[in-house]
Symmetry: C2
Subunit: 276 residues, 2 copies
């Protein structure tokens, strides 16, 4: 994996007008009969490989969320590692974002960075801002990796903390400003803003300039794609990673799950392409 | 593990005047020659068992940080699971706090709760407040488990976000108030305040009433034990879990590591007992 640079990979995908990111979050109870095997590892790999093979030519990234794998212990983690390795072995140069929402004090954060980037091999990772920048420094130091800071998350209760006013400005905007002006010294930061909050997305875009924004929350969570693109694209008509998980991978739970995922992904890709 | 209740276990330890929590954060490069084996799992288990056996009669809890295990993949996670199981099998009823600093949106958070409480078997867990309470709801619903919300962390940069003023009050106090007044419906919340900030600890104690506070940062990080006890104990002279990791487990890196850990833990225990 030497030489992989998250931002170069991403720019190449944007050159090809690809902005859709598929979230690889398998759920055991929702696995189609066709992929089920004795072991969780094998079941998840059969499912993920089928989804990846069906969508790999139209995505800008894949985003597995580590929680879906951790919940199954060693077998789950093995499936995660294999999934990342499978994507990176495709010769399509698709970057992998690990959604892990990590952060901890210095010596511990270094271990998380090791786990995420070296053991699992991710190209980018999501991190929590609450502990401050020294808690994500070991991530920030990896210039070739993307560090995606939670800013305004897509969940209903995100405003409880993220909307409190700091000198008249909501905290999420304060975080966006900190990331842009102070934490981005290696030019490898990004922010997360949920598609469920298009007005907030517009405000963040104004603050972060051309910085890439990861936008989850389209589909099942209710985010609107047109509002997202209009509010979130940057001055170069780029800057967006629009992430959909359940809406694509569980488009059908039957034997046609991979074909259904393709149709859904294609539809999203076409819609985004037209809008951007 | 049916019937285990984190808060009952903790109260019993406080009855016995035990307030010290030992952080089980093994580091491969710092393992004494005596415990080293081919496999990381075996090395970590030999180390952890020796530390636990040497300190089990004077602690109120153990706190492994999951990052130290995750960094070694499957083997590390197996060691973590075995460590928790070893502590819970001691018949000393010592609660185990998993330092994991988790939080994610609804369906994902449920999986983290499953991983932490069911797969790993922890009695309590640390969580991030930034996403809001719905992001930790699956943890909060487990009434018998402790949910320990980051409030004022011990690291040097914690003030970057935690000290921003919200209507004239630092954010960490706003979080302490939210946890106390809104998130604690099942009476199973706690907060984290670093020993490196005794004045902030005093402010949080005023806000949270008798709620238990987990205080890391004594020792290597520079926190003062007398200031911590005075600022942090509650009206019943309880309410504190004072956590020390490297200061105890790496008191010596030689063959006498377990005996040195005991001496250091005993010293801390005696000091806290006198002060409280």
């Amino acid at each position: 994996m030497t030489g992989r640079n998250f931002f170069s990979l991403l720019e190449s995908k944007w050159d090809e007008k690809k902005f859709l990111c598929v979230g690889l979050d398998p759920v055991l109870g929702a696995m189609p009969e066709e992929v089920r095997r004795e072991s969780v590892r094998e079941t998840y790999m059969r499912f993920n490989r089928a989804i990846i093979d069906a969508t790999k030519d139209i995505v800008c990234a894949y985003k597995p969320n580590i929680a879906f794998y951790e919940a199954h212990g060693d077998e789950g983690m093995e499936a995660l590692r294999e999934t990342i390795s499978y994507i990176q072995g495709l010769a399509l140069d698709i970057p992998v974002i690990l959604d892990a929402k990590r952060a901890d004090i210095g010596n511990t954060s270094a271990l998380y960075a090791e786990a995420v980037f070296d053991y699992l091999g991710a190209d980018a990772v999501t991190v929590q801002p609450y502990l401050g920048s020294d808690a994500i420094a070991p991530f920030l130091e990896r210039k070739e990796k993307g560090v995606i800071v939670l800013c305004r998350t897509s969940n209903p209760g995100s405003g409880e903390i993220q909307d409190v006013l700091v000198e008249g400005v909501p905290l999420y905007q304060h975080v966006a400003r900190l990331v842009t002006e102070k934490w981005n010294r290696n030019d490898n930061c990004m922010v997360v803003v949920g598609a469920t909050y298009p007005e907030e997305l517009r405000m963040v875009r104004e603050i972060v300039g051309t910085m890439p924004i990861l936008v989850p929350g389209i589909g099942t969570q209710g985010g609107d794609i047109e509002q997202t693109v209009n509010a979130g694209k940057n001055a170069r008509s780029r800057g967006l990673i629009i992430s959909v998980s359940r809406g694509v991978i569980f488009a059908s739970e039957g034997a046609d799950f991979a074909a259904a995922a393709r149709l859904k992904a294609q539809d999203l890709h076409d819609t985004i392409s037209k809008l951007i």
